[in-house]
Symmetry: C2
């Protein structure tokens, strides 16, 4: 905020409440704007651009993802798009590892059990409340981490998991490109892996002990984790989604948990969030642990994101080079 407030010649209109901005307020206030700083919950679509009008030069989103932005409409209206990559990589990687551990170790059910005062009734026995171990043991010397999408966050997550002793990494990539063998060699050596390989979806499902969903959202990837994928997964495997809710078919996942095709799931995002009410099928299962989209929610990272978004906005307004601009031409 100081960056924006202290900018000379800038008229600043700020949503006054400490919650997501109402659509009607947004549409009432964007006509004639030169730039708009938006968040994931603001649909930036044809309606948005038409109401904003031809003065609009830049939209700066406080997120690394931009599936809430209609890129075709943006391009048509000759508006530039700023985003906040890199600054949230570590926070989301931390959260991804946390969710893998929580899902494996029954942490959701554990927290609830203690919170509800049920611990005194908890009958201890050697295999009660057990789950599959993330780090390898003599019984499970091979631990394979699978990544659906292998960008910055996935690689930062892999780096953390390596220290838990995981042995193999598999990942999916754009089938149109060939695998980056130099990257694979570097990661294999750096993380002392026994193997790293690009695979197809089928093998990702069959071989992974944990599948980390870390691909972009949008129509192309909608429900890429569906019943067919989940049915192929190992019985003691874990699904982690720290990307976008749309990638996972919630009904299929609820069925997978109910019928024990997989062990558990750790979700930072759910399709249709935040409208996830207590009767949602995923909330019924004790081995589905869900946190409310907090992947990047650390003070330090959100300060980094807000600073970058403000800088993108100012650069876009004055027609200068933006610190982080989406290359829209690559997508339309």
């Amino acid at each position: 905020m100081p960056l924006l407030r202290e900018k000379e010649g800038l008229e600043l209109i700020v949503w006054p409440e400490d919650r997501e901005c109402d659509r009607s307020w947004l549409l009432d206030n964007i006509p004639g704007a030169t730039g708009v700083l938006a968040t994931l919950s603001n649909k930036v679509n044809e309606e948005f651009f038409e109401i904003a009008g031809p003065s609009l030069k830049v939209v700066s989103t406080l997120s690394v993802g931009f599936d809430h932005v209609d890129l075709v409409a943006l391009n048509k209206h000759k508006v530039r798009l700023g985003y906040t990559p890199d600054v949230l990589t570590d926070a989301v990687a931390d959260a991804s590892v946390m969710l893998a551990l929580m899902a494996g170790r029954n942490a959701g059910a554990g927290v609830t059990l203690v919170k509800e005062g049920q611990w005194p009734k908890f009958n201890w026995a050697p295999f009660f409340f057990c789950g599959p171990q993330l780090s390898p043991t003599s019984f499970t010397p091979k631990r394979t981490m699978g990544f659906l999408g292998f960008g910055r966050v996935a690689q930062a997550t892999l780096a953390r998991l390596a220290a838990f002793g995981i042995t193999h990494c598999i990942y999916t990539g754009n089938p149109a490109s060939s695998p980056d063998t130099a990257l694979e060699e570097r990661l294999k050596e750096q993380h002392k892996l026994q193997g790293i390989r690009r695979v197809d979806l089928d093998e990702l499902a069959r071989e992974s002990d944990v599948v980390f969903v870390l691909a972009p959202g949008g129509e192309k990837t909608r429900h890429i984790i569906n019943e067919s994928f989940l049915r192929k997964m190992k019985k003691r495997s874990i699904l982690v989604n720290a990307a976008r809710g749309t990638l996972v078919d919630s009904d299929a996942l609820a069925k997978a948990l109910e019928e024990e095709w997989i062990w558990s799931a750790g979700l930072d995002v759910v399709e249709g969030e935040p409208k996830i009410t207590a009767d949602h099928p995923l909330l019924k299962h004790p081995r589905c642990v869900i946190v409310p989209h907090i992947g990047s929610a650390t003070f330090e990272t959100r300060l980094g994101m807000t600073t970058l978004a403000a800088k993108n906005l100012l650069a876009g307004i004055s027609g200068e080079e933006m610190p982080s601009e989406v290359e829209v031409s690559k997508y339309v």
Copy 2:
């Protein structure tokens, strides 16, 4: 169980229920026993030895800790003690990292919020639900992990944290011994740390971003984390206890959270567990995340522990060398 059942000439008496064994059943069944396989919840004290009688050669505990065993009484009755170190190191280190992440990222409150169907009412704002980030950022380039006790689990926890980019490690050790500089040098290089140093309790409290309590329980360490220690900690620091509940004064911790001396706490153990009812002072605080003593609760580790405990028992009965025997003479 197969190891014990298939042992010729062994009469096996097994508690028939899938919960902790009743004291009265235990005392009714140990007279004349040659060996007893016990768990943390079985007090192995003078009463136990007197009732078991002179036939008792070995107690094999299914745990790495043995503060439930009266070593003076054990020694007096010339009984040997088996335990299960090493096999649970990785599982507890995994859980320690999980608790540090959960405490920092409001995962306890997050799980509860979603579970109770409150996500739709959750008003998103850039700094809502934020916590301090475990991995370093440009705003917090120095991240110091503090260990109260620096044994196997602490070192395995450090190895995992190193991959999150933490920069400094401080730890407490037995003041009677001098610091192990060779170990420090090795760990510093291996984990690419900027610094590693043995410190006193005062410095551990003042300098740590996360304090990991990983020391043995018992009278000597009771309430070592007390009001005085907690008052010295940083405002955004985190306390993790994956050792024994007795090490932390729960009332002092509740006050520390209430009055915001520290940011949050992640506990696998609480003094007086499992009798932690819903009115326990620690359960009132949203930033105190508690799981029901699941540090070693993975299938693989519990199988490793039960196998080792059975082997210790059999070796003790036949007077052979035990795979893992407590050197009782060091403690009495």
